[in-house]
C-alpha cells in the first residue's frame, strides 16, 4: 500500500445481489493492485424511485425478467453461490443502519459485517430482513449486544449519517449498485470490472 494510491470507493445497498458480487470482486481486484476499498452505504430505493423517478428494476417490463436471468448468470460467472433468503427481497434499513453505526465506530469491523451479511442473505439463505434477525446475526457473528443493535437501528444520529451518505452518493452522481469510484472516475456495474482492471494495470482505459 503506497501513499499515493487513493482508496477505491464501493457504493452499495444490501438489497442488490449485484452489489454482493461487486463487493467480492472489487476487494480481490483492489488487493491485487495495492488499493484499499472504502465501503459507502446508499439506498437504491431513494436513488432509483425518488430521484430518478423510475420503477424498481424487477417491476420494469422486459428489463425485470432479463435482470432476474442476468443475476443468476452473473453469480455463475463469478462462481458465487446464489441461495437467497426467502424470495430474495431484502428490506435494507435494519441491515444498512447497523452497517452505518458500525462504520462510525470501526470501518474495518463494519466491512467485515457487510461482507458477512451480504453472504448470509444471498448465499446462505439466512434471514437478515428484520431488526430482530439483524441483531441476532450481529450477535452470533460479531459478538455485538443485541440491545445495542436495536438502539443503533433507531438512533437518529445513525439515520442522519445514512441519509448523509445517500446524499453524498447523489452528489457524486452515483445512482446504481454497485458503483465503484476510482481516482474520481465512476463505474457502474460488475460488467465494468475489466475496465477498472485495465485502469489499475495500465493507468489508462485506452485499448
Amino acid at each position: 500500500m503506497t501513499e499515493d494510491k487513493t482508496p477505491i470507493e464501493f457504493w452499495f445497498d444490501f438489497l442488490s445481489p449485484f452489489g454482493y458480487l461487486g463487493s467480492i470482486q472489487i476487494e480481490k481486484l483492489a488487493a491485487e493492485h495495492g488499493r484499499d476499498v472504502v465501503w459507502r452505504p446508499t439506498l437504491l430505493g431513494v436513488m432509483v424511485m425518488n430521484v430518478m423517478k423510475l420503477p424498481a428494476v424487477p417491476a420494469t417490463p422486459l428489463k425485470g425478467p432479463y435482470s432476474g436471468r442476468e443475476r443468476n448468470r452473473l453469480f455463475g460467472y463469478f462462481g458465487v453461490t446464489l441461495n437467497p433468503h426467502g424470495d430474495g427481497n431484502l428490506p435494507p434499513l435494519p441491515a444498512i443502519r447497523t452497517f452505518t453505526w458500525l462504520n462510525m465506530r470501526d470501518p474495518a469491523l463494519a466491512k467485515q459485517y457487510g461482507q458477512a451479511l451480504y453472504r448470509a442473505h444471498w448465499s446462505e439463505a439466512t434471514d437478515v430482513t428484520t431488526p430482530e434477525a439483524v441483531a441476532a446475526f450481529a450477535h452470533d457473528h460479531f459478538g455485538l449486544a443485541q440491545d445495542e443493535v436495536f438502539a443503533a437501528i433507531d438512533d437518529p444520529a445513525v439515520k442522519d449519517a445514512l441519509k448523509a451518505s445517500v446524499g453524498a452518493a447523489l452528489e457524486a452522481g452515483v445512482f446504481g449498485v454497485p458503483t465503484f469510484v476510482i481516482d474520481g472516475e465512476r463505474f457502474w456495474g460488475n460488467e465494468r470490472l475489466p475496465m477498472i482492471e485495465r485502469l489499475l494495470v495500465t493507468g489508462t482505459l485506452e485499448a
Binding site: 417490463p61 422486459l62 447523489l170 452515483v174 475496465m195
Partner: protein
C-alpha cells in the same frame, strides 16, 4: 454449435458501435458469424417499458455523457458523434436497412455497419438520407430504389414488424446479443459472452 450471434441494435444507440466492434472480436475467436437485426429504443424503452430516454433520466443522463466516450476508448473505436446529445431520428437508416435486408443480408449488413461507423466515428448524421445514401450505394444497391425505400409502406411495415418481434422476444436495449438462445444486453457484456461460448454456458 455454429449458429450466428444475433446483434440487435438501434442506430441512435451510442453503445451499438463499440458493442459491434467488441462482439466481432469475440465472434472471430469462436468462429461465429454476426447477424444484425434492427430494433428501436423509442418503441422498447418508450412504449413497452414506459421509461424516459436514458439521456433524459436524472443522474443516468450525466453518467451516459461521461461513459460513452469511455466505451469507445476502451474498445479502441474513434468517437466522433454526428449529434452532440446523440438524439437522432433513426427511421431513415432503419428503413434502408430493412429494405436492403429483404434483398441481400450480407450487403445490407455491410451498409448498416458503414452507417453506424459514419454516425458515431465520423460525425456524419445518417438520420439524413443524403448522408445515409452513399453507404447504401457503396454496398451495391440502386440509387432510385434506395431513395424511395424510406417512404415505401411495405418497408415501413417491415420495420414495424421486426420491432414488434424483438419486443416479443424480450429485447429492450441496444445492443442486445443473442447467443444460442441466451440474451445478453449491453456492449460491456462481451467478456461474459466470450466465457459463455468457451464453456457452452452454465
Amino acid at each position: 454449435m455454429t449458429d450466428p450471434i444475433e446483434f440487435h441494435f438501434d442506430f441512435i444507440s451510442p453503445y451499438a458501435l463499440p458493442g459491434l466492434v467488441a462482439i466481432d472480436r469475440v465472434a472471430a475467436k469462436h468462429g461465429r458469424r454476426i447477424e444484425m437485426h434492427p430494433m428501436m429504443l423509442g418503441i422498447s424503452v418508450g412504449k413497452a417499458m414506459g421509461l424516459p430516454a436514458l439521456i433524459d433520466t436524472p443522474l443516468k443522463g450525466d453518467y451516459l455523457m461521461m461513459d460513452v466516450p469511455r466505451a469507445y476508448r476502451f474498445h479502441g473505436v474513434p468517437f466522433k458523434p454526428a449529434v452532440e446529445r446523440f438524439m437522432t431520428n433513426p427511421l431513415i437508416p432503419h428503413r434502408l436497412f430493412c429494405w436492403m435486408l429483404a434483398q441481400d443480408r450480407e450487403r445490407a449488413e455491410q451498409a448498416a455497419r458503414a452507417m453506424l461507423a459514419a454516425n458515431w466515428s465520423e460525425g456524419s448524421d445518417v438520420s439524413k438520407l443524403e448522408n445515409a445514401l452513399p453507404h447504401v450505394l457503396a454496398a451495391g444497391f440502386g440509387e432510385a430504389e434506395a431513395r424511395a425505400a424510406p417512404d415505401d409502406p411495405a418497408v415501413k411495415e417491415d420495420l414495424k414488424r421486426r420491432c414488434e418481434t424483438s419486443i416479443e422476444r424480450g429485447i429492450f436495449g441496444s445492443p442486445t446479443f443473442i447467443v444460442d438462445g441466451e440474451m445478453f444486453w449491453g456492449s460491456d457484456r462481451t467478456h461474459i459472452i466470450d466465457r459463455w461460448l468457451e464453456t457452452g454456458g452454465w
